[in-house]
Symmetry: C2
Subunit: 607 residues, 2 copies
């Protein structure tokens, strides 16, 4: 039944050689990989305004120059990452680039930072999506956590089904969102140009002097705006998912994404300025613009619905990126093996499930109010940005291919810019981002620990093929018996097929019991010695252990010691409740404490 | 650490031969076994008044003749059970007596009824105890469920520690309660006789005509009063717990208990009448009497505290009786074996824990408001009462010892009375007791099912000691390998010590992988054939299974098929997370589906 449910949710298992079919075309890739970046416009402008409004609405005009700065930054990032794609056609993004150029430690900083960040992506995006829904329908506000959790569950299942299928599902909303935002920009722009604005809007005077404005505040607002750039790195991390020629397709996809993102972000910022919109507690900025431009009619609700949808799907970008990065870290033995296993539908299921669970935990522990995580999330993106570009710089300097100077300069500008932004984050938002100094060392410590274990293991298991061959020894078999029955006969028959040195052990609770057993055994005479032990504490396991210890102590040098445990296989599950699970406990204890071999001899009950 | 906690709560394990020391003296037995019966006076009178008050306070005088009837019934029960004790000195109460005289089916009705009833005892007593506390401290009212659950936990732990110790703890409160109730009766009686009643009391006129009084209502009130008799059977069920001469000591204890119970119950009823007390929603009748007699001073609070304590300890009676009955049912193979196992402190731990859990579930599902369960609980007592006496009647008729007529008549009167009460319950309180017709058949069905399984099992496992001897066959060993390493060497060495017919199996995911393995194996040449299988679905287990199936199909007739599974024992628990648990899954699947023997070969990692 469980299997049936799994089939229904995940689909039929696929063969390994079906893997090739799962590659993405450019149009699909743009949908799968850009929803995170594009959806950032839903909160990017709002983050800038939230900082500026602390000085009053007169300061809101600063959002325009700040937005221009963010778009410039976007251009730099796109150009830089375009170069990375061609330099590292097998993908890997910041982790690969940093590791390749600066060694493992730096790579792990970038990788750990990104891993944590993908979890934050899922949490922040689903929360923001829930915000878009509750802006339109305030009654749902109290069910925020539940809504966000359902979203995480859905996106997890979609990803377990496999990449191509989810891409087909995702294409429409992503393009619908682009269309919706362009419609909003065009509609709003038309109204503005024709002077046909609603009565209540009052555009703040551009360039007006604002008392109390400081560079600190402007930098803070700028760094907030940078949250609109989260997700840009997704394309370069996922190159192996593209159809051939993968690097070229990926680069084109990246540029397209940058263009669309830049236009949309600038458009929203302009509209917010034109309509004189200030951030509100209960309604998002996009919701305010939409309702100002189109009124609270069908178009407004459509825009909200699509915004909610795209934010929900932004989480999907992380679900495409996290398992790939985990796979690469596992391949380098910094994460457990299990992240290398492909599931029924060829996705890295363990990574997908792991991401789903961790982000759900984040949502629950923050009660769905993850807005405070946005700065942390943005910083977590800019650290690997910086490391990745610095890595590219070093690469150009080391390899010096023909015409290396221009790309080197591009990466240098990119690195300096992103480094500056990291510093701005640390200085202006320390209270919101300091936890990165806790998380990141812990994650890297875990990476190191795991790596250490795998190294030790490899050393320990290595075998000299020429010299080390298997060497048989003798063998002693110990059979615990609780009486004389078909089960015991069955087990002894089996033991006799393997060894001549067999001991049956019986644990009795009283003298009569022990004597009766000895007599009956003699009468049966199965050709095997019987040792009878006395238990004072009604436990079969303790005396048995002592005995096995003795045997092991005497025999382990010369012989293998095997304990043979008969075990019923009942016909119905509830029959298990009717048998004391002695064999189960015996196995568990033996396994935990002794070095003996344990053979389980099944006895299948017929009724 | 867990073990340390267990030691602290339960105490050190005891040897089986310490069992004799755990017997009860009369004084202790009265405490352990009578708290259920004696504590019934805390709610018996109230149950009568609750029915009568529906006709107004003028009808309350009927409580006096009804109480007299209840005391007569008590006398009959005590005399009847006294005879049972001597007839069945090994104990067993209703289950044993009914089974012995009418066969298994009737026995199971009595036994099942009692088992369910003990669970109700715990739930009802702890709830009533909570009532006594919240009567005195109304602020605690909202924590009813928690208070009751803590009580259940406490009484479970006390019982796991062992009978004698809990008896020592329990002696004082039981006798304190008797003293407190006698103090209340004496104090109230003195005030009444001296005419020194408080001003506000107005005793209802005795014998006054009450409009609307019906036989139905009186019978209903009478049956409600019978709830004061629950727990009387405890002594005859627990005879084996008494010091020698057990039957005589038990009979004396029973009579003593009957006397004390009768006096206390009659006393409370008289006082309730004298003080003109009507049942109230928020305060128990005993609390009202105590506060009328002594005022809300220190004596009042002491009486409430002791009442709460005795009701709490009433649950203990069930904890003494349930495991014993479960033991007897398990011995007759109607309940799982595990109820026959004595724990560290020689009590039947599984029965104790089982009772604790089930009653906690009842408390939680009724939200601590178990008053509605009282009639069901009372009926659950009177069914086995009736069956037990009928059994005794049959016994006298069958055996006809000298002077059998008087005891026969006593049992006959007893049987007819309790049967009548059962019928009264069914007629007057059907809405509250119909569930017994659901529970009881289910419980008996389960008994029968369990018994059937054990019978089948015994048939299947029976062995002819003269003719059936173990017969060795040949042996094939299959070793799944994932590469060439120390683990594989270790496993093959072991296999070679047991059999000459060994096959190593490797599952590859690609042609290169498979070829590489074959070449390396040839180079190593461990003296064992290697079979290389191809997996299309990235699962090691499926191809392996197909292979094992084939081997089994070919070999099972002539040889034992053993699958040898190497398994890491890691040095630290978290290392397990770093290994795909293939060996665990392999074992689980093999065990569930195939008939092969499974040998686990531990490989203990050093780092």
């Amino acid at each position: 039944m469980l299997l049936g449910l799994k089939r229904l949710l995940i689909g039929r298992p696929m063969k390994t050689n079906e893997l090739g079919e799962e590659k993405l075309s450019k149009v699909k890739a743009l949908a799968v990989l850009s929803s995170d970046a594009l959806s950032s416009v839903a909160y990017g402008t709002e983050q800038i305004l939230l900082v500026l409004v602390t000085l009053g609405t007169a300061a809101l005009w600063y959002s325009l120059p700040i937005s221009v700065a963010v778009v410039c930054l976007l251009t730099i990032l796109v150009l830089s990452y375009r170069q990375t794609i061609f330099a590292y056609p097998t993908g890997g993004g910041a982790y690969m680039v940093a590791k390749d150029n600066f060694g493992t430690s730096t790579g792990l900083v970038a990788g750990g930072s990104l891993l944590v960040d993908y979890i934050l992506t899922v949490a922040v995006s689903t929360s923001a999506s829930t915000d878009a829904i509750t802006s339109a329908f305030p009654v749902l506000h109290e069910h925020r956590v539940l809504i966000a959790l359902v979203m995480i569950l859905l996106v997890t299942i979609l990803n377990l089904r496999g990449i191509t299928e989810s891409a087909t599902i995702l294409m429409y909303p992503v393009y619908l969102f682009v269309a919706a935002i362009f419609l909003l920009i065009l509609g709003g722009g038309y109204q503005w140009l024709t002077g046909n604005l609603h009565a209540q809007t009052h555009t703040p005077a551009y360039g007006a002097a604002v008392p109390g404005i400081t560079l600190f505040l402007l930098l803070r607002a700028f760094s907030s705006g940078c949250s609109a750039l989260t997700g840009v790195e997704a394309v370069s991390n996922a190159i192996p998912n593209f159809r051939e020629p993968a690097p070229k397709n990926a680069a084109l996809t990246l540029v397209m994404m940058g263009l669309i993102l830049g236009v949309m972000f600038m458009g929203i910022s302009l509209l917010a300025y034109a309509y004189g919109i200030a951030p509100a507690v209960k309604e998002t900025v996009v919701s305010q613009i939409a309702s100002a431009v189109f009124g609270r009619g069908i178009i407004y609700y459509l825009i909200q619905a699509i915004t909610a949808l795209i934010l929900f799907l932004a989480a999907n970008t992380a679900f495409a990126a996290f398992p790939l990065l985990a796979f690469m870290l596992a391949k380098d033995r910094f994460m457990p093996n299990m992240f290398m296993v492909r599931g029924d539908r060829l996705g890295f299921s363990n990574g997908i499930i792991f991401l789903g669970i961790l982000s759900a935990i984040l949502i629950i522990s923050f009660g769905g109010e993850t807005e405070n995580l946005i700065p942390l999330y943005a910083l977590g993106v800019f650290i690997p940005f910086t490391l990745s570009q610095a890595g590219m710089m070093k690469r150009w300097l080391t390899k010096k291919p023909s015409g290396w100077l221009v790309p080197f300069l591009i990466n240098t500008v990119g690195m300096l810019t992103t480094l500056t932004i990291c510093l701005i984050f640390l200085i202006t938002k320390f209270t919101q981002v300091w936890t990165i100094f806790v998380f990141l060392p812990i994650v890297i410590f875990i990476f190191r620990k795991i790596n250490g274990h795998y190294r030790d293991l490899a050393d320990e298991l290595r075998l000299d093929v020429e010299k080390e061959k298997p060497q048989p020894k003798g063998s002693v078999i110990v059979i615990p018996v609780s009486g004389i029955s078909q089960v015991v006969k069955n087990t002894i028959s089996y033991a006799q097929s393997l060894s001549d040195d067999i001991v049956a052990v019986y644990v009795g609770f009283s003298d009569e019991e022990m004597k009766r057993m000895e007599e009956k055994w003699e009468q049966w005479n199965p050709g095997v010695r019987l040792i009878v032990l006395r238990s004072h504490y009604r436990s079969i396991i303790k005396p048995l252990f002592k005995f096995i210890d003795t045997v092991e102590w005497k025999k382990a040098e010369t012989d293998h010691v095997t304990v043979m445990i008969p075990q019923f296989i009942t016909k119905r599950w509830w029959h298990n409740l009717l048998h004391n699970q002695t064999s189960f406990f015996l196995r568990a204890y033996l396994f935990a404490r002794q070095d003996v071999k344990i053979a389980t001899v099944p006895y299948r009950l017929k009724k």
